[in-house]
């Protein structure tokens, strides 16, 4: 294992320290329990948006703390859910009196820990809503598994709900908007290489040089199948087909096309994927009117990418376009 770290045990805290030092105008950090919050939190009268998850997916979630997006983010250990005391303290700290929305990616650990945090907050009389993100079409048999995983739609949901909260929507409305984003989005990922969890010290899975994994999760969970490496255009096709064939897309729909890098794939390659995905969306009759291309939700140093399609309407477009000022996403401000 070759990593730019001092020790696996100190990695998350040291990275957080560097992160807040670099972005002190936007975010502040709290340690024990660990969370990042907007520098100006709590924002009075605004619904607070809190998310969190294992570390190793940067810039998610800490990079999305700031005006127009998250009020707080709770980083867990690498690929491990944060704990209820983190979400509880973070939510209390950023609650501006209008309640707290918890955005939870559908992984067993995240769900259980956020459930416990919501229980603790309700016991304190804090108004709480939870919204689950489960957009990964790679998980086929969701009845007999822990269900579809939360992947690319998380970034889109955090942006859109953050803008809606800034616009003054009430807690229930923001929560329902988050659920709508999730219901309107589908994603699929691939991996060209594995990643190495620092405290494990060796690659999470073995993938031969001439193969790639179709349907990878963001923690190196295996996907649907393993295939011989193909040109990017073919890979784009294998990713787009299950996304488009899954509900809720139909010809004529306006969509946001999000091509996301897994950490080890350069923008040079991501745009090759975007080029073909855009063409395939067009062939399916979808109109791509918004996009996002870059590494916004990563799996450490894994090479690979995911594609997310979000069906748009006027509300979603308005809140997507609204100003955002965070360390990792910034426009209109």
């Amino acid at each position: 294992m070759k990593k730019l770290i001092n020790s696996p045990e100190k990695l998350v805290v040291e990275s957080t320290e560097g992160f807040v030092a670099a972005h002190a105008d936007l975010v502040k950090a709290h340690f024990n329990p660990n969370y990042l919050a907007r520098a100006d939190a709590p924002v009075r009268g605004k619904v607070a948006i809190v998310s969190g998850g294992g570390s190793g997916h940067e810039p998610m979630h800490g990079g999305y703390v700031g005006a127009g997006m998250l009020d707080a983010a709770c980083p867990g250990a690498v690929f491990t859910s944060p704990t209820p005391d983190q979400m509880y303290e973070a939510a209390k700290a950023v609650n501006g009196g209008a309640g707290v929305l918890l955005i939870v990616k559908n992984y067993t650990g995240d769900v259980l820990n956020f459930e416990m945090a919501a229980d603790l907050l309700r016991a304190d009389g804090v108004a709480v809503e939870s919204a689950l993100i489960d957009d990964d079409v790679a998980v086929k048999d969701s009845l007999y598994t822990a269900g579809r995983r939360g992947v690319g739609a998380t970034v889109l949901a955090e942006k859109i709900t953050g803008a809606a909260a800034a616009d003054g929507l009430k807690l229930k409305e923001v929560a329902n908007l988050c659920r709508k984003v999730n219901a309107s989005a589908r994603s699929m990922g691939i991996a060209l290489t594995s990643c190495t969890v620092p405290h494990a010290g060796k690659p999470t899975f073995d993938l031969p040089d001439d193969e790639y994994e179709l349907g990878i999760g963001i923690h190196g969970e295996p996907g649907r199948t393993r295939l011989k490496l193909e040109p990017a255009d073919q890979i784009a096709g294998r990713m787009m087909e299950p996304i488009i064939s899954d509900l809720p897309f139909k010809a004529g729909d306006e969509v946001l096309l999000f091509v996301n890098g897994m950490g080890g794939t350069p923008p040079l390659e991501l745009y090759v994927l975007y080029r073909k995905a855009l063409a395939l969306a067009g062939q399916a009759g979808l109109k791509v009117t918004r996009n996002l291309v870059g590494s916004y939700m990563t799996s450490l140093e894994m090479a690979g990418a995911s594609i997310t399609l979000l069906k748009l309407d006027d509300t979603l477009k308005k809140y997507w376009d609204a100003p955002v000022k965070t360390p990792a996403l910034r426009w209109g401000c």
Partner: protein, 210 residues
């Protein structure tokens, strides 16, 4: 040993810190095969913190010791194991409140309450390839043997049943947790959570048999 005393409970939790540290790489390797390669690390970190927190509680009742263990696990482990093992001890704490020793029957009730809590939180059933596959048969075996009045004999049955339950997860296809994403590919590997539960009962039996 006829009763499970508060100091025995502390010894058990300290023993678990040692066991999970020793088995850290083993459990993490099991988790790498069908999960996300963090179970051993998380359990070792969590129980090391528990051992430190409960060590000074020798004058406290078992309910307080379990509750401390629960809150420590919930706040240090993360993943699914933190809430699940934390819930086990939190529910166990209720029946042990105010008691500095548990009879054979009371110990059974406490284990039963812990099991019920884990089932309610994780919503898994026997056969889903989770810690429930070790925990359920262990508690059943304990209850079946508890009538004879020997704590260590009942716990011996419990740890054997937990061990057998953990080994029986090998051919199963996971239906809960991260391993479920593998579908058929999860068969052929033991469940790391069932394995850590088997270790938990093994350590409890060793403390009681001393």
């Amino acid at each position: 040993m006829r009763e499970l005393t508060n100091t025995a409970v502390i010894d058990w939790l300290k023993a678990l810190a040692q066991v999970y540290t020793e088995k850290k790489d083993y459990l993490t390797d099991l988790d790498r095969a069908i999960g996300d390669a963090d179970h051993g690390v998380n359990m070792a970190r969590g129980f090391a913190a528990v051992a430190e927190k409960v060590a000074p509680l020798t004058d406290q009742d078992i309910g307080a010791i379990f509750k401390t263990a629960a809150m420590t696990l919930i706040s240090t482990v993360g993943g699914a194991s933190g809430p699940l093992y934390g819930t086990f001890f939190l529910q166990a704490a209720a029946g042990a409140s105010g008691k500095t020793a548990l009879t054979v029957t009371e110990t059974g009730a406490v284990l039963e309450a812990g099991l019920k809590g884990v089932v309610a939180r994780g919503k898994a059933a026997v056969g889903d390839k989770t810690m429930i596959d070790a925990l359920t048969p262990a508690v059943s075996a304990y209850q079946a043997a508890a009538g004879d009045g020997s704590l260590s004999a009942a716990l011996d049955k419990a740890r054997q049943a937990a061990r057998a339950g953990a080994e029986a997860t090998v051919p199963l296809v996971a239906k809960k947790g991260r391993a479920s994403y593998l579908g058929e590919r999860s068969a052929g590997h033991p469940d790391p959570g069932a394995e850590s539960t088997a270790l938990l009962f093994d350590a409890l039996w060793r403390v009681a048999a001393k």
